[in-house]
Amino acid sequence: MEAVVVKNLVKTYGKEQTVAVDNVSFSVEQGELFGLIGPDGAGKTSIFRMLTTSLLPDGGSASVDGHDIVQDFRRIRSSVGYMPGKFSLYQDLTIEENLHFFATVFGTTIEENYHLIKDIYVQIEPFKNRRAGKLSGGMKQKLALCCALIHKPTTLFLDEPTTGVDPVSRKEFWEMLRRLKEQRITILVSTPYMDEASLCDRIALIQGGKILSIDTPQNIVNAYPDKLLAIKANEMYKLLKVLESHPGVINSYAFGEYAHATFHDTDTHALQAYLRGHGLTGVEVKGAEVTIEDTFIKLLH
């Protein structure tokens, strides 16, 4: 069954009718972990706000658990969980008070759905009398997730939960999401970090309010049309410059310690010779494993 169905959704802002969400359509299966991957300003937050009924669309339609986001907004409000991008808990209330408050607002109790949050809550329980404002980033995030889960939502919307969070906390957070998925909760998550895409069941790459591609991360990577090479040299900056000026290069860019490049014609030996001829040392050329980031760059190119 489809938990979320989005059809030609449009959102514009202001007098200039700046388009934030441009004719977006996708659907999410029940129990799926779906990622909206794209940079800031791509329209991720607007989509989430429309789906959680806090924003009215300017065109198109969408439903969550079969309820229309405009007509049945009250039904949706009582059944979804939402974690906005900014840390949105009461900083001057303790962990326990925050959780209790949100449980009551949603007409439930902590005890009733404790099993859902138990895994996460035990990690922050030792600090339950500490005020939320005094928690570390990772702990705040865990608390926010508990609060979004406490009323046993059918669908969970997480808007950039890992932005500004260090890589270790990010990993932990994704592990929590994987475990939640086992509870058959549909999860929609947005992120600007391309490397998190592979942790989702399916993803939509989004930029400028438009969806560039939707599929499983593996299929998206497999669909990469060109042969991608990873190239390394001791002089990185110079390498990038030389690649840029190479006549056969379609696209080239830095990628970690390597440069990634696609060519019209891939003769690695000729390429190595070309690079050495331009004074580069320690040249290494090999086939690269395509990542979501490579695909995104390709789609933007």
């Binding site: 794209g38 940079p39 800031d40 300003g41 791509a42 928690l135 570390s136 980033g137 990772g138 702990m139 932005t163 500004g164 969070v165 260090d166 890589p167 270790v168 906390s169 990993k171 600007p192 970090y193 391309m194 490397d195 930029q207 990185m236 900056y237 990038l240 860019y253 830095a254 990628f255 970690g256 310690e257 980031e293 995104f296 760059i297 933007l300 190119h301």
Partner: protein, 247 residues
Amino acid sequence: MQDDRVIVCEKLTKRFGDFIATNEITFDVHKGEIFGFLGANGAGKTTAMRMLCGLSSPSSGKATIAGYDVYTQTEQIKKNIGYMSQKFSLYENLTVRENIEFFGGIYGLSDEQIRTKTAQLLQRLGMQNEANKLVASLPLGWKQKLSFSVAVLHEPKIVFLDEPTGGVDPVTRRQFWDMIYEAADSGITVFVTTHYMDEAEYCHRISIMVDGKMEVLDTPTNLKNSFHARSMDEVFYQLARGAKRGD
């Protein structure tokens, strides 16, 4: 050998009461180097950076920035550094040109210098047509590039970048790094923090802070080798996993 060290830190420490935010960090950064300053949230990066920028006085230890002492010569330090953070860098309700003129003015450039620099900068960024638009109306990527350009407008010896590429799309991120490379090539030292581990690889050397201490400092390749890791991500994870502090 000529001493080309622009940042010299020796046992630099900052205490807030009992809490040691930055614990005896010792390192040097050379001219034209891209120095990655990594660490989990709350590891003490921000505090360390504030001391290096002359915004906060250390509790103990020594440090000189561009040859100036962090205790006594903070004014000279501020003249010789540029700063850009993800959170604040430009005035959203001023136009591109007004922002450039304002920051040029702050750093004491003459009207003549400001005029020529503005023209150069706009041309290099290809933003001539946007010069009179409000910064608020620009896409995030352009803002970041513009604020970096403004941060190096007065040709500082060192530029501090605090998570400069957060939330930016992959293509713009790379264009941004092109600008960093270019600046480093022209002799500006770049001191950068980031949460993107692939960006850490672009740095000449990386330090990783854990619980206020600088645990490691080396080139990305050496770090990966010594930690038997395939990526910087793994190195970071191995180090920061044991961290006790959050922010």
